[in-house]
């Protein structure tokens, strides 16, 4: 039982990081129709920014706040400066993926060029352990889970109850009609990238906290998990991303405990390929 509970605990933390990341990724796709494969690179850039601040002697939590702001601004620039111009030209979705891969190289290895190739970690305490229902988690892990719950709730409130959130959903559903309602879809899209960019930065820092030590290429494999969670729930569906994150996060860690830790990503891999082959709109998406 302890193995299960321990892996369940790890699974909750992974699911939490994954949820924050996947919600951001899926909303970027839903509102702008761009599969931003550079998402992982922006995450790690945020993680390193927090590290730099942390290494100056400042608390990593302040570093987190700075990373969130920086990734938010950076993502807005990424869309406005790169993706949107290509889209305005009528670039095909395949070429957009190649563009996003190019941006991945620029950002990820730009970080590596500055920060070097060695792994680093934050100077922080994990805090006292907390026992809850058989699980043993550190304070930081609890905070990460808590942040994730906050993000999920916040996303729910944003999309269901605020004017901006509904405008985001309207823009994603029917951009032309949204404009006919007077919605300035350009601003809605900018706001979307700002919010999801912030989520990306947050995800990057908590990912680094959970991973312990990280280098510039640490999110390469994590992006696979994000994609699996997004496609499981349905690309563009925020609630789908939440569901997918929980499923993939738990399945990954539990399978790692029972099968072998080396292949824990295989479950995500299989899930992603199956979804692409069988139901590309995801579990919560409309039947294509």
């Amino acid at each position: 039982m302890t193995i299960f509970l321990a892996s369940f605990g790890f699974g909750l933390v992974t699911a939490s990081v994954l949820a924050i990341a996947a919600i951001g990724f899926t909303l970027q796709f839903g509102v702008t129709d761009v599969l931003n494969l550079a998402y992982g690179a922006v995450m790690i850039a945020g993680a390193f920014l927090a590290y730099v601040i942390n290494s100056l002697g400042v608390s990593v939590w302040i570093g987190l706040a700075v990373a969130v702001a920086a990734c938010s601004a950076g993502s807005v620039l990424l869309n406005a400066g790169v993706y949107a111009p290509f889209q305005r030209r009528g670039t095909s979705p395949i070429t957009m993926v190649i563009v996003s891969l190019g941006m991945t190289l620029i950002i990820e290895f730009g970080v590596q060029a500055i920060a070097g190739g060695t792994s680093v970690s934050y100077k922080m305490t994990q805090g006292p352990s907390v026992r809850a229902g058989g699980l043993v988690l550190s304070t930081v892990q609890l905070v990460v889970i808590g942040l994730s719950v906050l993000v999920m709730l916040g996303t729910h409130v944003l999309l269901r109850y605020t004017r901006l959130g509904k405008a985001m959903r309207a823009t994603a559903a029917n951009k032309s009609l949204a404009r006919n309602c007077g919605i300035r879809t350009g601003r809605v899209i900018t706001a979307t990238w700002a919010i999801t960019g912030a989520l990306c930065g947050l995800a990057g820092v908590v990912f680094a906290m959970d991973a312990g030590s990280f280098d510039a290429t640490a999110t390469d494999l994590f992006l696979v998990l994000i994609l699996a969670a997004v496609f499981l729930g349905g690309p563009g569906q925020a609630y789908g991303a939440m569901l997918g994150a929980v499923v993939i996060g738990l399945a990954t860690e539990i399978s790692a405990a029972y099968i072998t830790p080396d292949y824990k990503y295989v479950i995500a891999f299989v899930a992603l390929l199956v979804m692409l082959g069988v139901r590309p709109t995801g579990l919560l998406g409309a039947r294509a």
């Binding site: 563009v99 292949y263 390929l273």
Partner: protein
């Protein structure tokens, strides 16, 4: 210059060029975007390694791997190509289906990442993270591998292999088969409706590219005698894509140029950057990656066609098309064999030009019998029955929502019926797929623009010919001599059509550069190239200048006199006046009346249908 330096450079150049040629064949020519390309090179490398290596107990047994049969040259290299090709087969499910292009690409990318992970972690298979080493070089028993003679011979071999691959992909691409691949790249839906088997084409491309990549991996491994997961991360695929894009996608010389500029070029340039102990050791490699990313984005923005863009295939046409028997052969509609509905359509060259004997009174050649089509509870077509007679130009009119286009689609086979039957030449074709009906002579055109933009007008026409010997992988491989005659016959027929419709001056222009009206003509001519017996036209005159519309109408009438049957959906009712008889009027999914346009105008229910809507 150290000769070993040149040898190293040449071998890497050959290997990278080979890989880029394979990728260009898949991506540049056929439009198959394989973001897992590197795993095919990796598989080839591993295959060559485990075929050449002795049993894993050798050398002190410090490596663990499967295989180890110590096979001599050339078996490991052949094995590398074969494994690369076979590995492609499981992935056809991602590219063959109607999956959004970017989603499929993500699937392939993820596969590359995860296979690298598996290879790294599962040590028993391929020695995991450390990879394989001490791989014997080909002929290592007989020759002194370190000798200059051997090294140069190896280099010559690698370059020869690269040249062979270049000739191979050129032969495939510069053939009717290659034309079909490019058509699929430009507009796969239309290529499908013209009878191209998309799944088979894409599978062939995956396997071919995979085999070439595998061979390149085998050669590389035989040279450097090691192979580990670090050598084939997913980012290597991005490098190869960058090379093909920068060099020029769709141009095989461009692929070679790209290989020299990017993978090889970057290696060489960094050699000359002065190293300094003050700089962090990772800086230069990291900046290389940043530079590749920048090159990709900048090139896609500024010059997406690459340095050496895809060449236009200019086909030399004879100056004047001869009139007389050959000229009248454009559209030979042989009298149908009565009892054999599946008889093949003979090629133009074989059938004499005498006018086909007319059976007494035109018989019904295409028939809808109580045909219905429902969409979610709404009946777009409700129990329609009518027949089209041979040699007529029949019109199909009706207000918006009448069901005309839906009915046409069901007759053509691009939309299935909800109930009812379609009979063509006496045969029930209700369940037959569109491209099969096309092969039987029942051909349709589309309302929306459907020309292949990056093919010339002439190539557009040639792509519709169903029976060109060169339009298969084997046929392409057999070379020009094999399909020259079929191609020449098709070109001659195309020329006649171009002359008839007045586009002979644009034969070698890209179809995408033509005006809207001209593109319509291309579409109609292309349908005629398929040697149809019954031609279904979906609003052919929409947006066409009245003079051009009249010309099209006149040509079609002339073709009907030669035996063609036409069913035309149109709402330019004046065209119906001039050219179509009889005309069928539909509204709200049912047939209202049939007769000449003048008769229909006098029928109040027809007029009311238009006015009431």
């Amino acid at each position: 210059m150290n000769s070993y330096y040149i040898i190293n450079l040449l071998i890497y150049a050959a290997v990278d060029a080979m890989a880029c040629l394979g990728l260009n064949q898949q991506f540049g020519v056929a439009g198959v975007t394989n973001f897992g390309f590197i795993i095919f090179q990796a598989a080839g490398g591993y295959a060559a390694a485990i075929l050449a290596l002795p049993d894993q107990s050798a050398n002190g047994g410090f490596q663990s791997y499967i295989g180890g049969w110590n096979l001599p040259f050339p078996v490991p290299l052949i094995g590398a190509a074969v494994v690369g090709g076979l590995l492609a087969l499981p992935f056809t499910f991602l590219v063959g289906r109607r999956l959004r292009g970017d989603f499929a690409a993500v699937g392939m990318l993820v596969t590359a990442v995860l296979l690298n992970l598996l290879a790294t972690n599962y040590r028993p298979a391929l020695n995991g993270d450390a990879g394989l080493s001490l791989i014997p070089a080909p002929g290592g028993q007989q020759f002194s591998v370190q000798s200059s003679g051997y090294q140069w011979a190896f280099t010559a071999g690698a370059l020869a292999a690269c040249a062979l691959v270049y000739l191979f992909v050129r032969r495939i691409t510069e053939s009717p088969y290659g034309r079909s691949l490019r058509a699929m790249r430009d507009n796969d839906l239309v290529a499908d409706s013209l009878g191209k088997n998309l799944l088979s084409l894409r599978t062939a491309m995956l396997v071919t590219g995979g085999a070439i990549a595998g061979l390149s991996g085998g050669i590389l491994v035989s040279y450097i005698s090691t192979w580990s997961p670090a050598a084939w991360g997913y980012a290597e695929t991005v490098v190869l894509f960058a090379a093909v894009i920068i060099g020029g996608a769709g141009n095989h010389l461009g692929a070679i140029l790209g290989a020299l500029l990017v993978p090889v070029g970057f290696e060489e340039v960094t050699r000359y950057i002065p190293t300094s102990n003050n700089l962090p050791p990772n800086l230069i490699p990291s900046l290389e990656w940043v530079a590749i990313g920048l090159l990709i984005v900048v090139f896609l923005w500024v010059r997406p066609q690459g340095i050496l863009p895809e060449r236009k295939r200019v086909i030399k046409t004879a100056g004047q098309t001869p009139s007389g028997p050959a000229g009248a052969d454009v559209l030979v509609i042989p009298p149908p064999a009565r009892a054999a509905p599946a008889s093949p359509v003979p090629s133009a060259a074989a059938v004499p030009s005498a006018a086909p004997e007319r059976p007494p009174g035109p018989e019904i050649v295409l028939e809808a019998i109580d045909v219905t089509r429902e969409f979610g509870g709404v009946r777009a077509v409700a129990g329609v029955s009518f027949g089209v007679r041979r040699g007529t130009m029949t019109g199909l009119i009706g207000p918006n929502g009448a069901g005309k286009s839906t009915l046409l689609a069901m007759l053509a086979g691009t939309l299935p019926v909800s109930s009812g039957h379609i009979r063509y030449q006496g045969q029930d074709v209700t369940g037959l797929a569109a491209y099969r009906r096309a092969r039987l002579g029942l051909v349709r055109t589309f309302q929306l623009a459907s020309e292949f933009k990056r093919l010339t007008v002439l190539e557009n026409l040639l792509s519709a010919v169903p029976d060109n010997r060169g339009d298969s992988f084997r046929g392409a491989l057999a070379g020009r001599r094999y399909w020259r005659a079929d191609e020449a016959a098709a070109i001659a027929r195309a020329q006649v059509l171009l002359d008839r419709f007045g586009l002979e001056g644009n034969a070698n222009s890209y179809a995408g550069d033509l005006s809207g009206g001209q593109r319509r003509l291309v579409e109609i001519m292309r349908a005629l190239m398929a040697q149809p017996r019954v031609l279904l036209l979906d609003e052919p005159m929409a947006g066409v200048h009245p003079n051009l519309a009249r010309r099209i109408g006149n040509e079609l009438v002339a073709l009907c006199a030669e035996g063609l049957t036409v069913l035309m959906v149109e709402h330019e009712l004046a065209i119906m006046d001039e050219f179509c008889d009889p005309v069928v009027a539909m509204a709200e999914g049912v047939v209202l009346a049939e007769g000449s346009m003048a008769e229909l105008r006098s029928r109040t229910e027809v007029v009311e249908a238009y006015l009431v809507g």
